[in-house]
């Protein structure tokens, strides 16, 4: 999977917002991940530890993943349902005409930062 590229993107986004806010350090990064985005959290954390090592502002930040379950709606009978792991036709009427409502989310939600007192005084 392409977790390295994903992790680099997370780092760039977090760093950009932290610098804009005048942060000295990022302590936490909150990431929203839909079930359908097929990203493995553990490998993102693994790459994070490596690529943030030479970025003092990012180093040591904790990554938090919020998983959003996949929700589908049946186009035939309007029934809404969550899929456990596998793709399934509408459990109510058996139709294959279904649409994804949620589960494709893939973004950096927020970051928690520290500012040193000097920077606050400025």
């Amino acid at each position: 999977m392409h977790e390295l590229a994903v992790t680099e993107s997370i780092l760039n986004i977090a760093e950009k917002h932290a610098v804009q806010a005048g942060a000295s350090k990022i302590t936490d990064i909150y990431i929203t991940l839909g079930q359908l985005s097929s990203i493995v959290d553990d490998s993102v954390q693994f790459y994070w530890d490596i690529i943030s090592a030479d970025k003092p502002i990012c180093q040591g930040a904790a990554l938090h993943f919020q998983r959003i379950p996949a929700r589908l709606v049946c186009l035939a009978c309007a029934h809404e349902y969550e899929i456990p792991t596998e793709l399934e036709p509408c459990p109510q009427c058996g139709s294959f005409q279904v649409k994804v409502l949620a589960g494709e989310e893939f973004w950096v939600d927020s970051i928690e930062i520290e500012k040193s007192d000097e920077e606050l005084a400025l």
Partner: protein, 223 residues
């Protein structure tokens, strides 16, 4: 020392999307229709490109960007032999092409000299699906010997397609492949998806696919 929470809400890979938009603008300005051809290794991407060139030349001028994980020019050489400009992009082991690699590839390709650009993505059913290249149509080749369960196993790549090619239909008599089961999976992921069953070996179905491409190229030019 003080701490605070900052709201970000920025899409991961949004930087890729921005470059993809720039690529798209370049294609539109040149009036070139572009496709991102994805499939597992061996499904017949290069074969389909060669058959397509045979079917649309001389009506269309075709350019090809070849994505490979290794610095081998086997695929690109075949295109050049067929008389069309080919650019090789070596991803350095990466499992997918991204929009930046395409923009580099475009430095070596004169868009004014072609009508249709085909990008052969890296053979992989997972990663290419996540990276928008700025092309007009995502095209997936599913080949019969890969099995009929692939939509169920690799749903993400099927969700973002404009066209599905079912290749190696000449092998249907020899391989257990339940077409109804396959198509049901596809229908759930991408209702009404435009599909072309073809065989690059016998040439069956290539004409219909080529006709679709020609009509898209016409539209791209008129814009």
């Amino acid at each position: 020392m003080s701490t605070s929470r900052i709201t970000v809400v920025e899409k991961i890979l949004s930087a890729n999307d921005q470059v993809a938009e720039q690529n798209r603008a370049r294609f539109d300005q040149a009036g070139v229709f572009t496709i991102n051809l994805m499939a597992s290794p061996g499904a017949g991407k290069t074969s389909l490109i060669l058959e397509t060139i045979r079917a649309v030349v001389p009506d269309l001028r075709v350019g090809v960007i070849e994505g490979d994980t290794a610095p081998v020019t086997i695929d690109a050489d075949k295109i050049t032999e067929a008389g069309m400009p080919a650019v090789q992009i070596n991803t350095g082991g990466d499992c997918h092409l991204d929009a930046v690699m395409i923009s580099y590839g475009l430095q070596q390709l004169n868009l004014e000299e072609i009508d249709l650009l085909i990008v052969e993505n890296v053979g992989n059913l997972v990663c290419p699906a996540a990276f928008n290249l700025g092309t007009h149509a995502n095209v997936l080749i599913a080949s019969v010997p890969e099995g009929d369960d692939k939509p169920y196993k690799y749903p993400n790549i099927y969700r973002n397609l404009e066209v599905l090619i079912i290749n190696k239909t000449d092998l249907l008599p020899y391989v257990r492949f339940n077409m109804d089961y396959f198509r049901q999976g596809v229908e759930m992921l991408n209702p009404g998806l435009q599909t072309f069953p073809v065989s690059c070996t016998t040439g069956e179905g290539i004409e219909q696919w080529a006709a679709w491409l020609k009509s898209k190229v016409q539209n791209a030019k008129q814009k």
